[in-house]
């Protein structure tokens, strides 16, 4: 099957700076795909090349089989991009903005779909408001709406929830999930790793312009087996407990443990040492832990703790 996005050995250099270093990536139709990495990893550069806003130094990208340079018309009709930077045209109202954007894609009589987009993003009541008068969150919604005017099979969201309130995040994810169920391919970058964990079926992690991890979210999470235990000890826990320590601040101790037996053993050791335990919490490793482990150059944390 034709890939939704096929990235072939794409590099981007700005003078001596290598923003992307021979990236290969394939996103299948219908996927909910996450693109994660620290600032400067190259996520936005990659998205900009997909969108046709930046030209690759070498390599090529196809969207639904269409080369983004040679066949830019079909490629750009196939993708909707929500840029990271909050931009708006101050001359127009929300509805005018969407009608123009729809027209730019060569579509007319698109009002029914535009109404649906407005409705789903909670913008209907602001349809006749000038974009200048919108709050930051509303401008962000409009930016999402503008990316969807041509009902693109591939939707790319570059940090759509940066600095927006909980309500918008929920509205947005509800809508994006629905679009994904209806067959739209979604590519998402975000710094909120819990969002990526909850939404994305597969994740690529970028660092220094390279893909350093690419796997299903489930497989990535299973890389960090074990449990994380936080507690507030009253007194000094014995050395056997401190051996599992990964963090300690404000009197709260965080331990990495292999399994439930370890939890029982830690509590027994504390009790034997006469150290009471408060605010006990046990949880699974989450994507943030995996992310930090993959991003750090040190050997995997797991070997340091679980096998200790």
């Amino acid at each position: 099957m034709t890939a939704a996005i096929q990235v072939n050995s794409v590099s981007k250099r700005y003078g001596s700076l290598v923003a992307l270093d021979a990236i290969d990536l394939r996103v299948e139709p219908g996927e909910f795909f996450g693109l994660l990495g620290p600032n400067g990893a190259g996520k936005t550069t990659l998205i900009s090349i997909i969108a046709g806003l930046v030209r690759a130094s070498s390599g090529d990208i196809r969207i639904m089989g269409h080369d983004v340079v040679d066949d830019f018309r079909a490629a750009r009709l196939s993708v909707g991009v929500v840029p990271q930077e909050l931009a708006f045209d101050p001359f127009f109202t929300v509805r005018e903005t969407l009608t123009f954007q729809s027209g730019y894609f060569g579509l007319r009589d698109n009002g029914a779909w535009l109404d649906e987009v407005l409705d789903n993003l909670g913008l209907t009541s602001r349809a006749d408001t000038n974009t200048r008068a919108l709050s930051g969150g509303m401008k962000r919604r409009l930016l999402v709406a503008q990316a969807l005017v041509h009902k693109p099979p591939v939707i790319v969201l570059d940090e759509p929830t940066a600095g927006v309130d909980v309500e918008l995040r929920q509205t947005l994810w509800q809508f994006v999930r629905r679009l994904n169920r209806e067959g739209h391919t979604i590519v998402l970058t975000t710094h909120y790793l819990e969002e990526a964990q909850a939404l994305c079926g597969r994740i690529a992690m970028l660092k220094g312009g390279r893909v350093i991890a690419l796997d299903t979210t489930r497989a990535l999470l299973s890389r960090l087996a074990g449990l994380q235990l936080t507690m507030r000890p009253r007194g000094t826990p014995p050395a056997s407990v401190f051996a599992h320590r990964i963090d300690e601040r404000d009197g709260v101790l965080t331990l990495r443990l292999a399994n439930a037996n370890d939890v029982a053993r830690v509590l027994a050791d504390c009790a034997a040492a006469g150290c009471e335990v408060e605010d006990l919490e046990v949880g699974q490793a989450d994507l943030e832990d995996v992310f930090l482990q993959i991003m750090s150059d040190r050997p995997a944390r797991r070997s340091g703790f679980v096998n200790a």
Partner: protein, 266 residues
């Protein structure tokens, strides 16, 4: 996960609709602030007419049998046409570059020809709108004749198209408002001002006559004025050749920059 592949929208998308939408948006952009983009330049030109028309009327000899005010009006009209055509495409580009909203034009499937065409046409419309405004108001002070109206139209269209293209080049090149202002104040303003708006270059010394003949704006104004009086400093055909060459050159550069994505798709 759904394996449904959405039907491509390509068949429903019309490049003609896309072009017309961009053109409409570029025109609506200046129309929504027409007090500033049309009324203000009309007022400026009328002030020139009042001041220079009064002060210079008895000192400057223009064409035989043509009053100075009548001579001045086509010059002021054409100067307004040119300056406003330039202002339209250049300010639209620099504003949307700085606001970040240019991305909304760069993301859709526009070709460089479509972007060029829409910005230049909108510049022509703005230039002509201001030109007509200046002419209508100025005519109250002494209406010039229309000896060869086709030339009027040809030079107004070619001149505003060339300045629209130049505005695209300047708008792409400038990263900041003051760079664009510098281009406007140090290139476009002097070139239009010194192109014989206020005088006939025949009254100048041979050196300054020669300098004026290097200025393409001189030919735009001279050819435009020929349409009113059937008199000019050089033949309108020569002027047409120079203006056509300048139009071709600026269009070629503007199209090349748009096609390469210079400073736009870096």
């Amino acid at each position: 996960m759904s394996q449904a592949v959405l039907a491509p929208i390509n068949s429903a998308s019309s490049p003609a609709v896309a072009f017309r939408t961009l053109l409409a948006k570029e025109m609506l952009r200046f129309w929504k602030v027409s007090f500033q983009t049309i009324a203000a330049p009309v007022l400026t030109s009328v002030l020139y007419l009042l001041v220079f028309g009064q002060v210079l009327a008895t000192h400057v000899e223009a064409f035989p049998g043509v009053s100075y005010v009548a001579f001045l009006i086509p010059g002021l009209v054409m100067m307004s046409v040119l300056q406003n055509a330039f202002a339209n495409s250049s300010s639209s580009l620099i504003q949307s570059k700085i606001m970040g909203s240019l991305v909304f034009v760069l993301l859709p499937p526009f070709s460089h020809w479509q972007i060029f065409g829409a910005y230049v046409l909108a510049s022509i419309v703005r230039g002509l709108a201001v030109g007509v405004g200046v002419f209508v108001v100025a005519s109250a002070f002494g209406a010039p004749t229309f000896e060869a109206p086709l030339w009027i139209l040809v030079f107004a269209l070619a001149g505003s198209a060339m300045l629209g293209g130049l505005g695209i080049i300047a708008g792409i090149w400038a990263d900041k408002f003051d760079q664009l202002a510098a281009f406007q104040n140090f290139v476009v303003m002097p070139a239009t001002f010194l192109a014989g708006v206020f005088y006939s270059v025949h009254g100048l010394s041979p050196f300054w006559q020669a300098v004026s003949h290097l200025n393409p704006f001189f030919y735009m104004i001279d050819g435009f004025r020929y349409g009113f009086f059937a008199q000019s400093d050089v033949s309108p055909w020569i002027s047409l050749g120079v203006v056509a060459a300048a139009l071709f050159a600026t269009s070629a550069v503007a199209l090349h920059l748009l096609a390469r994505g210079y400073k736009l798709r870096h």
